[in-house]
């Protein structure tokens, strides 16, 4: 009897082991003609779920560009959505489910701030490459070889926000941020940046989000007499706060300098209703990662994106969206690295990520599309992919160095307009 039980347990554990290995069959080479999975691991079901499509659009554009040009080493690719939920409690089991269910998972992208720190170790433990769009400070000094970040760190973006206030000529500014860990990560770099640049901070105000009123806080802020306000707030908080500021300041607005969220229509359009289009156009700017520059990479991206209408509703909405472009560039870089490495195994193609990207120059041939890259690689050349927003430069921590723009909302055209560009060199010269 005991033998039967022991034998049963051995068989059961063997079966479980096979299931686990079979499910995550992503660390080995994909079989002939098998599809490769490009995983999009982000929050699809929560309050921010509607923004997930921004990334999906970029992945689908890349998928169609790659597949139309023969795929990666003969393998077609497919973008698959994996719902990470809103917080680590949802994301950790979701990551495990993704690893056990996806076949030929060669790349995971997305991973927002709320879940990245908890799930990156789980995914990279399976030696799967992650190219994320999180700005989370946990990765500012990343040493994980399987983790890259396609957008600059939040701290760098915050420094750019401080620099934009300085560049705008303000000598006295107030800082308005919400309470919470996400805002904590940006308050310090903005404050440090302003202090380094000699800009006086009249008041630092931390407010609880989504309160019914901020009149007392508005009075305190106005009493400090700032020339401008640097801010990062949710749209609902911002509309309440700034409409009350307008009411209590005799209808006069102060310049508001926000972050990338401020340069988004989901922030700007409610603000237009709260403080008026003229005030938004005149006083509100948001500092964000620079949008793509016109060129062959952007043309190819927009061409394939606009042809993806059957998979992405209203693809034209995303043709100038930096995060859609970041997802697209991510997939093309990873695909070219696989071609260069002649392998779809993340462990083998990971070292080629930096070999096919970076600053153009030397003997490497500059390419702007997947097709161009494959052609040059097959001809035995070394390549450097220049993406939609220009060269993809990595620092030693695998963080992308970025150019920033200050954007202003055009309420008539319902789109952002760039009012200034901040280069990495400019930022380094000013802030070190």
């Amino acid at each position: 009897m005991r033998r039967i039980i022991v034998g049963g347990l051995v068989l059961l554990s063997g079966a479980l082991g096979l299931t686990a290995c079979g499910g995550s069959g992503s660390t080995g080479e994909a079989g002939k003609n098998q599809k490769l999975t490009l995983g999009i691991f982000t929050d699809f079901s929560g309050p921010n779920g509607e923004f997930a499509i921004i990334g999906v659009a970029g992945c689908v554009a890349a998928q169609n560009s790659i597949n139309a040009n023969g795929g990666i080493l003969g393998h077609k690719v497919s973008c698959q959505r994996f719902d990470a939920g809103m917080d680590p409690a949802d994301a950790v089991p979701a990551a495990s489910r993704m690893l056990s269910s996806a076949s030929n998972l060669v790349l995971v992208q997305g991973l927002k701030e709320e879940v990245a720190a908890a799930t990156v170790p789980i995914i990279s433990a399976q030696k799967i490459l992650i190219i994320s769009t999180t700005g989370d400070k946990h990765f500012d000094k990343n040493t994980n070889p399987y983790f890259y970040r396609m957008v600059p760190a939040d701290a760098i973006l915050s420094s750019a926000q401080a620099y934009w206030a300085y560049k705008s000529g303000f000598k006295n500014v107030a800082m308005l941020y919400e309470t919470g860990s996400q805002a904590n990560a940006v308050v310090e770099p903005v404050q440090q940046g302003l202090e380094k640049l000699g800009v006086h901070i009249t008041k630092i105000l931390r407010i609880a989000p989504s309160q019914s009123s901020y009149r007392t806080e508005v009075q305190a802020l106005l009493a400090s007499h700032p020339e401008a306000i640097l801010t990062e707030t949710e749209p609902q908080t911002a509309t309440t706060f700034f409409s009350e500021l307008l009411e209590l300041n005799n209808g006069k607005m102060l310049p508001l300098q926000g972050d990338s969220a401020t340069a988004n229509s989901s922030y700007q359009e409610p603000l237009v209703k709260a403080i008026g289009a003229k005030n938004v156009e005149k006083y509100v700017t948001g500092t964000t990662v620079a949008a793509a520059a016109p060129g062959p990479a952007l043309s190819e991206f927009q061409h394939v994106l606009l042809a993806s209408g059957s998979e992405i509703p209203h693809p034209e909405l995303y043709k100038d969206e930096p995060y859609t472009e970041a997802f697209y560039d991510t997939d093309v870089v990873a695909a070219l690295a696989m071609v260069a490495a002649k392998s779809t195994t993340p462990e083998k193609y990971q070292p080629f990520i930096e070999k096919v990207s970076g600053v153009p120059g030397g003997s490497r041939v500059e390419v702007h599309t997947f097709a161009e890259g494959v052609k040059e690689l097959e001809a035995g050349k070394e390549i450097v992919f220049v993406g939609t927003a220009g060269p993809i430069r990595w620092d030693k921590y695998h963080n992308r160095e970025g150019t920033f723009q200050a954007l202003r909302w055009n309420a008539t055209k319902h789109e952002d307009e760039a009012v200034a560009t901040i280069t990495p060199e400019e930022l380094k010269a000013a802030l070190g």
């Binding site: 509607e50 609880a208 009149r215 007392t216 509309t239 309440t240 009411e247």
Partner: protein, 297 residues
């Protein structure tokens, strides 16, 4: 301009909104002993209904406020008749009713999000500059909000004190079985009380949405805990106590934000709640209540 006096003025606006919600909440509790967590969701639903009237149909904002309040009353009566009354008829315990109310809240909020989306919504209202009223700074809209709260409270007082329905409500609140034996139709009176409470809840929801300028599907839930705190501070089940509780919670939150930290405004309400539960579990008006009970004995 004295910032402290202005803070008190801002606190009065906050108190006005909380008082509408807290009185409605406590009225429900007094007649049926349901600790209704779906109350915040009804506030939200009323705000969205008013939004539809104002923005989709293009009607005047104050008409929309009235429509939202009426919608709150109808929805609350629907919840009472459709969900809570069957439980009450079976004499379900407080915990069962609490869980049922949480379930109803989740369903309502999910339905609102599914229909209206997660995005922010704003009413079509004109921008207003704050006016100096003595040493206070209030916009005309805030003056109307405070006026509405005062009128609603006076109307409720008159109803409870001088009408047969009001007296019947008080009788049901004191002892539903005894009131029933005395010829009061406790079931109908409970439904009417829920209707009045829904009217106040709807009004609070729409006014809150109007005051925050831009609102989403969590607008009512964001005020729910503060509303409950005010109701408890005033003595749960005590409509007049809820008015006092709203005043205390609204003012102390603003003053806490002014003196301590704006990021911790809500903390003041919950500190008060805990202190009150420990020291005066029957609320601020417990002395008066105990005196009344002693006299009746």
């Amino acid at each position: 301009m004295d910032p402290l006096i202005q803070t008190i003025g801002f606190g009065l606006v906050t108190s006005a909104i909380i008082s509408l919600g807290a009185v409605g909440f406590t009225l429900q509790f007094s007649v049926s002993h349901v600790f209704n967590f779906a109350y915040g969701a009804v506030m939200t639903a009323s705000a969205y209904f008013a939004y539809m009237v104002n923005v989709t149909f293009g009607l005047n904002i104050w008409l929309a406020v009235a429509a939202g309040a009426l919608f709150g009353a109808v929805l609350t009566m629907g919840l009472q008749g459709g969900i809570f009354q069957p439980f009450l008829a079976r004499r379900a315990d407080t915990f069962t009713l609490l869980i049922a109310s949480i379930g109803a809240a989740l369903v309502l909020v999910s339905a609102i999000s599914a229909i209206a989306g997660f995005g922010a919504h704003s009413f079509n209202v004109n921008f207003q500059v704050a006016l100096h009223v003595w040493k206070f700074l209030w916009t005309p809209r805030e003056l109307v909000i405070m006026g509405l709260a005062v009128v609603s409270m006076l109307a409720l007082h008159a109803t409870l004190r001088y009408t047969r329905v009001g007296k019947a409500m008080r009788a049901v609140a004191d002892d539903a079985d005894l009131a029933g034996n005395s010829g009061v139709d406790a079931r109908t009176i409970t439904l009417v009380a829920w209707g009045i409470s829904g009217l106040l809840c709807g009004l609070a929801g729409v006014i809150l949405a109007l005051d925050v300028v831009s609102f989403s599907s969590n607008v009512g839930q964001s005020l729910l805990l503060v509303t409950i705190a005010a109701a408890v501070v005033g003595g749960i089940g005590e409509p007049y106590g809820a008015i006092l509780g709203a005043l205390v919670v609204g003012l102390s939150s603003e003053l806490f934000g002014y003196w301590v930290s704006p990021g911790l405004k809500d903390v003041a309400a919950f500190v008060l709640l805990i202190v009150m539960l420990v020291t005066r579990p029957y609320g601020l008006r417990s002395g008066e209540r105990l005196r009344t009970e002693a006299q009746s004995l």
